[in-house]
Every structure is written in C-alpha cells, then in structure tokens.
C-alpha cells in the first residue's frame, strides 16, 4: 500500500489505519490521527480502511504558545 505518512512516501503492508500505526512502530505512543485531512478517533482506526495514495497525519503533544 503506497501511503503518504506525515508528508513522506511509504510502502506499507497495512490495510487499515491501526495496522499502519503498528507497522510504523508507534506501539502505545500517545498520538492522534487524521486521514486525508479528517480526524480519525483512536477507536475507529481498526475500522478505517486504507487506499493507495491516502494521506495519514500522526501527531503527538509538543511545545506550544
């Protein structure tokens, strides 16, 4: 599956968003996800199928003003 993850091209063996996070080694990290610009809650990741060319954003807490 050819995906864009946080702006970088990846070829991942993942058919849904939960699998993609697993393959990318996020483990139990505290993150939030969006698919093609729309928020995907953690509980919905396993039921969110991926397609070639999908854009995934994975974010975590960071310094801010």
């Amino acid at each position: 599956m050819k995906l864009i993850v946080n702006g970088d091209a990846h070829d991942l063996a993942a058919s849904d968003l939960a699998q993609a996070l697993e393959v990318l080694d996020y483990g139990d990290a505290v993150v939030a996800t969006a698919l093609n610009g729309a928020f995907v809650p953690a509980r919905a990741r396993a039921a969110t199928a991926l397609n070639d060319g999908d854009r995934i954003e994975i974010v975590a807490p960071r310094q801010g003003g």
Binding site: P41, P61, R62, G65
Partner: protein
C-alpha cells in the same frame, strides 16, 4: 477568583511551553510562574523518535491544566481537525483557537475564527479564541458560544506590549462579565501589569519568558507583575489629569519669601 468555563484558577498567568533552552528550564520556569495553565500544541510524531512522548511526560509531571492550541492553522478545516485531535490526545475540551490570517503579523483571520468557533462550540468544545480587540468580532465570538476572549496585545513574539490600549479598554468596558485574557505580544512584566490594570482577567505569554536571559527569574517577575497589576485594578487607580495638583498640603506652609 479567575474562572474559565466553570474551572476556578489561582494564577492569572497562562504560560506557553515553546522555545525554552531546555526541558528542565521549562519545568523550572513553569513552577516559578505559579501558573495553573500551560499551553501546548500537536505536531507530527515519528514512530521511531517519539519526541512528543517525553514532552508529554514532562508536562504531566507539572500537574497543571493544559490548553492545547491550533497554532499554525490557516483555515477553518485545519483548525477544527486539529482541535478534534487535541481533544482526544489531551483529554480536554479546552482549545485555544487560532486561525491565522497573515503570515507576517500572524494576526487572526477573524472571519475564519468565528466560523471555526461556531463549529467547535456546537461540538462541545470550550473555546479560547485568539482574536483582535475588534468589538464586533468579539460579539460574534460570544454569539458563537465562546465564554472567554483572548485579544492580542501585539503580534505574536514581538514583545511590543499593548499596541492598542484604547481598543483593549473599550473591549473591557463592553464585556464586563466575560473573562478577558491578553494573549500575545507581551514583552516585559510592565506590559502584563498594564493589562491587568486595565481590568483584564489574565495574561497569556510565552516568548517573553522562554527567550529571556534567565527564563526562571523572568517567570517569577511576570507572576509578581500580574499580581501587582490585578491588586492595583481592584484598588481603583486615580484618574489621570493634565494639570499638577500638589500632594503636600498648601495650608500651613511657612512664609519664607
């Protein structure tokens, strides 16, 4: 006591967490400031590096409330999606809503801000909008469901202080019951004290502490300035006047000419 969305807070200083020389200095400055609220953001996380996890651990140890922001968002859609992600990650419905309209001044796109505020308030968020001192925009934000307003003092990171005292005073007078926070542009403790003397409820700042030569000492200085400004406001300052008025009694002066 300061109250945001039903939450009572002891400190009137909201502190940003960016640009400190080190995580340890950030933690020390946060403690020295006495703040009850730290602002945070969301940024891309690498599964391999996991930089955000250490930061989140540091913030959690400080045991204060967090106010996530939508910094860097230039559209309603970006801001709303960021807010949704922040609510899940930080476990709070509080959101510091920023919809930026101009890259040079980082001033709010007030039209997008009102639209995003309406969407988020309807979805149960408790919105802290980063806005200008414009009265009509403030009215629209309140109509959208905002219960706190955060007008800028000056553009973010400039340290220019309160650029439009008249506008800020006018906003305070028009919305006496709404918690008002000066957010952005503060450079020195005197700026923060001036905001509090205008009757503002709190001050939000980041760069002025983080980029100071001694951030921990500056955090403490801001805490005291904000307390002094608040106390001065409550003590009802005198009205300024153009002509001098002797403070020492004239009656009883010795005739020595």
């Amino acid at each position: 006591m300061l109250n945001f969305y039903g939450v009572e807070l002891g400190s009137r200083l909201l502190l940003g967490t960016a640009q400190y020389p080190s995580p340890a200095v950030l933690a020390d400055a946060a403690r020295a400031s006495g703040t009850d609220i730290l602002t945070v953001s969301l940024r891309r996380e690498s599964g391999r590096l996991r930089e955000g996890q250490d930061f989140w651990g540091l913030i959690a140890d400080l045991d204060v409330k967090v106010l996530p922001n939508t910094a860097g968002c230039h559209s309603v859609k970006e801001a709303v999606t960021t807010a949704e992600m922040a609510r899940e990650v930080f476990g709070t419905s509080w959101i510091k809503l920023e919809v930026i309209g101009d890259a040079d001044t980082l001033q709010p796109d007030v039209f997008g801000l009102v639209e995003a505020a309406r969407i988020l308030c309807a979805d149960g968020f408790e919105v802290f909008p980063y806005t200008t001192e414009d009265l009509v925009v403030a009215e629209r934000l309140l109509e959208a469901g905002c219960r706190v307003l955060m007008p800028w003092g000056a553009p973010i990171g400039t340290g220019l202080g309160l650029n439009n005292i008249y506008g800020l005073r006018s906003l305070r007078a028009h919305f006496p019951e709404t918690p008002l926070v000066v957010d952005a542009g503060i450079g020195k403790p005197s700026h923060a004290a001036a905001a509090m003397e205008l009757g503002y409820d709190a001050v939000l700042l980041n760069t002025a502490v983080a980029k100071a030569g001694d951030p921990v000492a500056m955090a403490s200085a801001f805490a005291r300035a904000i307390e002094a400004g608040r106390a001065a406001y409550l003590a009802d300052p005198i009205e300024p006047r153009d002509m001098a008025a002797p403070s020492t009694p004239v009656f009883g002066r010795a005739s020595l000419a």
